[in-house]
Symmetry: C2
Subunit: 283 residues, 2 copies
């Protein structure tokens, strides 16, 4: 497999991205290829520092970068030499030695836009959606979309359901995923007219185990295996969950040190075990 990695994109790029990419070499097969796209000097120096000489690594040198604050569509149009545009071009059906997978932590909008332009969409999929696998207390939940499409039409939401269902079955190995639509309540009359229309489309989707609406309360509690939502709600959900979970453990640590400092040492293996069970890498 040929995997592209945008070394220049992300909040802590390029160092953390490169570090992650090189760490992944341990998990790749002998005939896999890791294509690092970005500043050649940064990449070569980073590899030299770590003493990595690996024939599976290819470098594609780029000179431009799309920043997190750049306007996506303009940036993709004007910065043809950026790591994002160059990498997605290499994933185009028309590309020579086409990439099989591309990874970027950079400007989301630019990635979505470059992906649409160069990789194209699957037949009958009208809009891309970003799916994340959220670790919950009762297993992994696929949340789609978390920000590719902030004003989806009902049929986009229904298509997210189909894609999330396939992802849950094929990648997570869940036999008959329960697919639910995010809403403000479980009752039939709740939600916008778009949500109701998406619900009706999902109900009529063949072979899908659509279980209806789900509320925010049930997402971490095993209410569904696939949760469909629009890009605004999905984006707020993952960021809120990240902030809240981090905050709870920080507050707990603070409290432990204030009340019973000795406890901290004994609590460490407990928290570690908890993290290990619910962290992404398990899936």
């Amino acid at each position: 497999m040929r995997i592209g990695l945008d070394v220049m994109g992300g909040d802590h790029a390029p160092d953390e991205i490169l570090k992650g990419g090189l760490a992944a070499l341990d998990g790749l097969a002998a005939d896999d290829r890791l294509v690092l796209v970005g500043d050649r000097r940064v990449i070569e120096e980073g590899m030299a520092e770590r003493g990595i000489h690996d024939s599976r690594v290819e470098i594609v040198a780029t000179t431009e970068v799309i920043g997190m604050d750049d306007s996506p569509v303009e940036a993709v149009r004007n910065r043809k030499g950026s790591s994002i545009v160059v990498m997605y071009q290499m994933a185009s059906p028309k590309a020579k030695d086409r990439l099989d997978a591309v990874i970027s932590a950079g400007n989301t909008g630019a990635c979505v836009s470059a992906a649409q332009m160069h990789m194209r969409r699957l037949p009958n999929v009208h809009r891309p959606g970003i799916a994340v696998t959220v670790p919950t207390f009762s297993g992994p939940v696929v949340l789609i979309d978390v920000g590719a499409n902030i004003e989806p039409k009902p049929h986009h939401l229904a298509q997210y359901g189909v894609m999330g269902d396939v992802y849950s079955r094929r990648i997570l190995g869940i036999e008959r995923p329960r697919v639910a639509l995010m809403n403000v309540g479980g009752e039939e009359q709740k939600g916008t007219s778009d949500m109701k229309e998406a619900r009706d489309l999902l109900r009529s989707a063949e072979g899908m185990n659509f279980i209806g609406y789900i509320e925010g309360r049930s997402v971490f509690d095993g209410g569904a295996d696939v949760v469909i939502t629009d890009g605004v709600v999905g984006n707020v959900m993952i960021k809120l969950a990240e902030g809240l979970a981090g905050g709870i453990f920080k507050a707990l640590a603070h409290e432990v040190f204030a009340i019973d400092p000795e406890l901290a040492v004994r609590l460490e293996p407990v928290v570690k075990s908890l993290y290990a069970k619910h962290d992404y890498h398990e899936y």
Copy 2:
């Protein structure tokens, strides 16, 4: 002050509601009145059980109930004898012995609809919004709206900002609240056209300390004192936070018992202190 309480509304009504109402008597002044609206027998029996004879309690007997699953507008129109409709009528500007405040944990849509019909809105406020005070690691945050209005116009969002600002200053005593608009990113070009329009309206609001967009990650981390959002996002946010926080403590307890059961006893005061600091009752 005359306070109305809908004893019949809520997931654990009427028992838990009545229990809460009667517990509140300790905090009320001698000339306050608690008007319990609901099934007379249930209320009288509940008070007798607890040996409560308090001249500050008035009972307004009703015979109908609006359920959580009922269609709000129809229910308010057709069930004139329900606790919700009767209570909100007593808060009408035209009512004799008008209620100064009304409390219900019942059907949200029915409450909003009955409130609009009987209590009317403040001058220049076009749509009601539900504000909640969310306990965070850096103090209380006013989140508005959490479900009254699932398809707000930009000027509704701007008005929520004004109301949230007043609430934060007057009720929570925050001198110059930082008011922020919920979005998928902090950058100017992020969000729907409605969000951008709301942002521009908020920027031009006189005397308000509007700080721009806020992301989900920052809500629990002191990013703002007032967070404005539409009813769908806000509703998902509070329910998600509730489910996640509860889940984390449940998972932590489970892990403690599995790995180091003795620890549970020592952890109890820590968790209690944490809850005490971040629970609603502090505000």
